[in-house]
């Protein structure tokens, strides 16, 4: 309480010019999810870290043409997708030029090779005449963010529809040296609890994608209806890699909740719930 009061007293004393930086740092804020400095290179744009599956699922991605949507008019866009394997190593890339507001991409072998499950990011590039058009109407420099929509469908049910979820978290980009980087950062330990009830009749897969250039510890706990911890699992997720956590049958007897601790200020997972041949997918 004393520390809180002291911090409140210190806040007004922070010089105005430094406020945007200092107030996002401890002791004023322990939960800032992104670094505050933005790289300065032409057409810098950031992407969520998306999941693709080519195991028993197939994946489509709906990419947005941000400039076309902003100008309310079709604009030629070079979409580039970078795919990473379970260890976070680049396993393929794919370029496509399109003018539509949205691009539908079926993720296949030509893009990811034999990799069954991994992460990917989306980057865009526009010709100068189009960015000049944006600059002529915008009074501020705008940075595009790619949050797209990923759709999953069971491979053994190709006549069905894709179940979609939107981008989750990330702020990854390819820098001017063609190197993958991220604005996401680790901070103090946070505890994330999705508002979701796990049922003993279903099988669950939780995919955690690490969007930072550092290894990340995660501790996953299942709690029964009396808040007793009935299962606990700790692991390390390497930089830019992903981790899959599965729950099926045991150890769940009844309905329970799941929670996890990590140093990501907001650590969301992509969740697949399967009951027989039916499934649901959502972000936590």
């Amino acid at each position: 309480m004393i520390i809180k009061k002291l911090i409140a007293k210190l806040k007004p004393l922070v010089p105005k010019k430094l406020k945007p930086f200092l107030l996002l740092m401890p002791p004023f804020n322990y939960s800032t999810p992104y670094i505050n400095s933005i790289p300065k290179f032409e057409q810098f744009n950031v992407s969520d870290y998306f999941l693709f599956r080519r195991d028993e699922y197939e994946t489509v991605f709906i990419a947005e043409n941000n400039l076309a949507l902003t100008l309310a008019s079709p604009v030629e866009c070079k979409h580039v997708f970078y795919f990473f394997d379970a260890h976070g190593v680049l396993c393929g890339s794919h370029k496509i030029v399109d003018s539509g507001y949205h691009l539908r991409l079926n993720i296949d072998n030509s893009m990811v090779g034999d990799i069954k499950i991994g992460g990917f990011i989306h980057q865009t590039w526009y010709k100068k005449l189009f960015t000049d058009e944006l600059n002529s109407v915008s009074q501020r420099p705008l940075i595009f963010q790619h949050r797209g929509y990923t759709g999953f469908r069971k491979k053994n049910n190709p006549s069905s529809i894709f179940s979609f979820l939107h981008g989750n978290f990330g702020a990854l980009y390819i820098d001017k040296h063609a190197k993958r980087s991220s604005l996401a950062r680790l901070a103090t330990v946070h505890n994330y609890t999705p508002q979701y009830i796990l049922k003993p009749t279903s099988m669950y897969e939780f995919y955690f994608l690490n969007p930072v250039n550092k290894d990340m510890e995660i501790i996953i706990e299942l709690k029964d209806d009396r808040s007793n911890i009935i299962h606990k699992h700790a692991t390390t997720i390497k930089a830019f890699s992903h981790y899959r956590f599965e729950i099926s049958g045991s150890p769940i007897d009844g309905e329970c909740n799941i929670t996890w601790k990590s140093s990501l200020p907001i650590c969301r997972a992509i969740v697949f719930e399967a009951t027989g041949n039916r499934f649901d997918v959502f972000h936590s």
Binding site: N29, Y30, R104, L142, Q145, T193, I197, K261
Partner: protein, 270 residues
């Protein structure tokens, strides 16, 4: 910032459910694990200006509350707003404006105060983590969304948009508003639907068309939920909301970007 949750009846044998837990959605580890609250459910009929209390639900000893639309006698398109409240908050049976929901955010951890919002039909079910921000319920605003989540053309597949609109302040009169479906290429209106404040507009989208759509209202804001489903055992169900246009931009200028984008579209759409 705090958030409302909602239930609605969208017809066609769908059941809408929400699940909410007493666990704090995101917190630093020294912050307490859960908060004590209850949820109160209010509804406003299409022609009414008053909110009527439908239910008041407590966790008791449980960690979770699940609410189903078919537990309440909701007309198609009628909205039930779920308000997280402190345990000692007195919830009147009839009110003119909605109470502010409590915040389930206890420290500076970034989080949307969500619930699992599910739609099920027969044995199929699909969900997303959703909410309706209190701040959005205080302003009239405008609405613009694109068709990214409308599936590929398929004879046996149907798509719906459920447009949720909550206005928590007292209403002096119930105006009728327009929700438009337009061709995003030539900007011409294809169809217009009427709706009112505090309702769920259900729009069936023709997904056999090659057209690309833009959905908009110059009258109010709202949250669009896209539902795609098929007739037959082989089909899955997809439920998701689109990002608001501000999410196309990064950083401090994201709302400036949204304003620019919206003005471009709204100035060319009829």
């Amino acid at each position: 910032m705090s958030d409302y949750l909602f239930l609605t009846n969208i017809g066609d044998d769908f059941i809408n459910s929400i699940s909410i837990s007493k666990f704090v959605p995101n917190r630093r580890i020294k912050t307490k694990e859960y908060i004590e609250f209850k949820v109160v459910i209010y509804t406003q009929k299409k022609d009414a200006l008053i909110w009527c209390k439908l239910d008041e639900v407590y966790f008791n000893d449980a960690n979770n509350i699940t609410l189903n639309s078919n537990d309440y006698d909701l007309d198609v398109g009628q909205l039930a707003v779920v308000v997280p409240c402190l345990l000692d908050f007195i919830c009147e049976d009839i009110i003119m404006s909605l109470p502010e929901p409590i915040s389930r955010k206890l420290d500076s951890s970034p989080v949307n105060e969500r619930a699992t919002i599910s739609f099920s039909r027969g044995e199929l079910s699909s969900s997303y983590q959703g909410e309706f921000p209190f701040a959005m319920s205080r302003v009239k605003g405008t609405f613009l969304a694109f068709d990214a989540l409308i599936g590929e053309p398929h004879k046996k597949v149907s798509s719906k948009i459920v447009f949720i609109n909550i206005f928590s302040k007292e209403l002096p009169v119930k105006n009728t508003f327009s929700f438009n479906v337009a061709n995003s290429s030539n900007k011409e209106i294809i169809k217009t639907y009427e709706y009112v404040h505090n309702s769920a507009l259900i729009v069936d989208v023709d997904n056999m068309s090659d057209l690309s759509y833009v959905f908009y209202s110059k009258d109010t804001l709202g949250i669009p939920i896209f539902i795609t489903y098929g007739e037959g055992e082989e089909f899955n169900l997809s439920v998701e909301h689109t990002h608001p246009p501000s999410e196309l931009f990064w950083g401090d200028d994201k709302f400036y970007g949204q304003s620019l984008l919206k003005s471009k579209w709204m100035n060319t759409l009829p």
